[in-house]
């Protein structure tokens, strides 16, 4: 309660004009208005729709890519330097190229999201697969487990705790890339609602959307992924028994 109260007091009695530095009451009212007229829900749905598409693509390409990187020296030699190099590039830097390639369209923004998360997912998967207990690989070898049964039944489950960490990281990268993309490239979504607020000099709306972005990010990260991670770690026996 303390920080909120301080915020409200600073906004009312501080040196800045109230319309540029609104307090929590004004921000809450703005969020309420945006919820009531459906703008926030529509923008969030639009953003999340893009995110899910881009992220799904990242995972379906990134996980197999990571497995290939970990398991094949040839693949590693051929593309690991590129993967590591591109990883150093902030994903929003892909936007100009994406616009050249795909025009001002949905695929351009999806491309930015995919480039933001794909490599993180691939690198984390590679680490996780490379770190799989060799005893399990030998056990699979002597039991004659190979082919798809080996990859889907041994390798991926054995690496899953590490892969999940990568998926979480990939998700937050995708989320950031999407917000950056939507801010620069106006096409609906939360990023645009944010820009909108600036255009009409409505700082309360800007802050309200920021709060919504934080809330969505935290929900996915702290709730969805946390539950998933806990479940996996418990099943895999990686947690201390909490009696």
């Amino acid at each position: 309660m303390g920080p909120l109260l301080t915020w409200e007091l600073v906004s009312r009695y501080g040196p800045w004009p109230h319309y540029l530095f609104p307090g929590p009451v004004a921000v809450a009212a703005s969020v309420g208005r945006m919820l009531a007229d459906g703008r926030l829900a529509a923008a969030a749905a639009r953003s999340l729709g893009r995110l899910v598409q881009g992220y799904a693509l990242s995972v379906t390409v990134g996980v197999p890519l990571g497995v290939a990187l970990a398991r094949s020296a040839a693949v590693r030699r051929a593309i690991r330097p590129i993967v590591l190099g591109l990883q150093a590039l902030p994903s929003i830097c892909w936007l100009p190229l994406a616009i050249l390639w795909f025009g001002l369209s949905e695929p351009a923004i999806l491309f930015v999201v995919v480039m933001g998360s794909l490599l993180a997912v691939a690198i984390a998967t590679e680490d996780a697969v490379a770190g799989v207990d060799p005893v399990l690989l030998r056990a699979a070898g002597t039991l004659g487990v190979r082919g798809p049964r080996f990859h889907l039944g041994v390798l991926l489950p054995a690496a899953l705790p590490g892969i999940l960490t990568g998926l979480k990281l990939g998700w937050s990268f995708a989320w950031r890339a999407l917000m950056a993309g939507e801010l620069l490239f106006v096409a609906g979504g939360l990023g645009q609602l944010l820009q909108n607020g600036r255009e009409v000099l409505d700082a309360a709306q800007v802050m309200g959307v920021m709060v919504a972005i934080v809330a969505i990010g935290m929900t996915v990260d702290r709730v969805l992924f946390r539950i998933l991670e806990l479940r996996v770690r418990r099943r895999w026996g990686l947690l201390e028994a909490t009696a």
Binding site: V135, L136, A139, T142, L143, G144, V145, R149, R235, G237
Partner: protein, 315 residues
């Protein structure tokens, strides 16, 4: 043979275990496993030097020796997880090239898939061997009670004790039913009590199924409790010192007087080999026949052992 019987009838034995450990008798027929002149080196280190071992179907052979004697290297070569740098290994006359369904390696670690329950671990292995879902489930259900794990079918490996996990691995290996079971110090990490109950269990199961087993251990007593045959190995370079038949009656008790005396003798032998350092068997040409080798082993064993550092005898 009947002298042994006479000795038992006439008064107390002076030397417990006498006649219970004899140089390996040549067996008729083709061996199941044939290890011929196998050598292996890791860079400069000679892990195995000119190893010759024949294992017949249904034999329980223990490879025993100090760390560095190449026993595990040899086992992994048998499993096909490692290709020796020299010599030939064949199973039923077919050269070993990589792991195969006729052999199964049992590890020192339980090596269970941690995300699968006890039952699922067995079913997964059986499905990989081509069994249908129904058959795999039925077979898993039949083998879990064999290692006394009824009621733990749906437990996850991390919920079990170390001994129970080893039992699951044993059940998995037996359910898969390979022609040859290769065991790499499977009980080394267990406490004495659990290990001894695992010995009883394995003996009981082996007496029932008469599977061909090659069992690696550094524990001489464990080798004598379990093995029909004990292949004593020495290090630097890894080589076979003795190949002995164990004539102790089964089931064997690790605290049996004869068994303890024999293990003391083998340990003394190993200590002597270590002290000597120089590769003893190298004094004879490497291309000895089975008979020559046996004769040599008999000769060595016949020599008085007064100078051997027999720690046990002094105690």
């Amino acid at each position: 043979m009947w002298t042994d019987l006479l000795g038992r009838l006439l008064g107390p034995r002076r030397i417990p275990g006498r006649g219970m450990l004899v140089p390996r008798q040549a067996r008729a027929g083709l061996p199941k496993i044939d290890v011929r002149d196998v050598g292996h080196h890791f860079q400069k280190l000679v892990a195995l030097h000119d190893v010759n071992i024949e294992v017949h179907a249904g034999e329980f052979v223990c490879l025993v020796g100090p760390s560095g004697c190449g026993k595990t290297t040899l086992l992994y070569a048998l499993a096909g997880h490692l290709e020796p740098s020299g010599g030939r290994i064949s199973i039923d006359g077919v050269p070993v090239k990589g792991p195969g369904p006729d052999r199964l390696l049992v590890f020192q670690e339980p090596a269970l898939f941690p995300w699968l329950t006890v039952r699922q671990n067995l079913v997964f292995a059986l499905r990989a061997r081509g069994l249908s879902r129904v058959d795999a489930a039925a077979r898993a259900a039949a083998f879990i009670p064999l290692v006394h794990l009824e009621g733990f079918e749906e437990a996850l490996p991390h919920q079990l004790s170390g001994g129970m996990r080893m039992r699951v691995q044993l059940a998995r290996a037996l359910a898969v039913d390979p022609a040859v079971l290769l065991m790499d110090e499977p009980f080394a990490s267990l406490d004495a009590q659990t290990r001894s109950s695992m010995h009883q269990l394995l003996q009981r199961i082996w007496l029932r199924d008469r599977k061909t087993v090659v069992f690696v251990t550094h524990d001489v007593r464990e080798a004598l409790v379990l093995g029909d045959r004990v292949v004593v190995m020495a290090a630097r370079p890894g080589r076979v010192l003795h190949d002995l038949d164990v004539k102790l009656p089964r089931p064997r008790d690790p605290d049996d007087e004869a068994l303890v005396a024999l293990s003391r003798r083998i340990r003394a032998e190993l200590q002597r080999a270590e002290a000597a350092g120089a590769p003893e068997p190298d004094t004879t040409p490497p291309s000895t026949t089975e008979e020559e080798r046996d004769a040599r082993v008999a000769e060595e064993r016949g020599t008085p052992r007064g100078t051997a550092p027999d720690v046990g005898a002094r105690l």
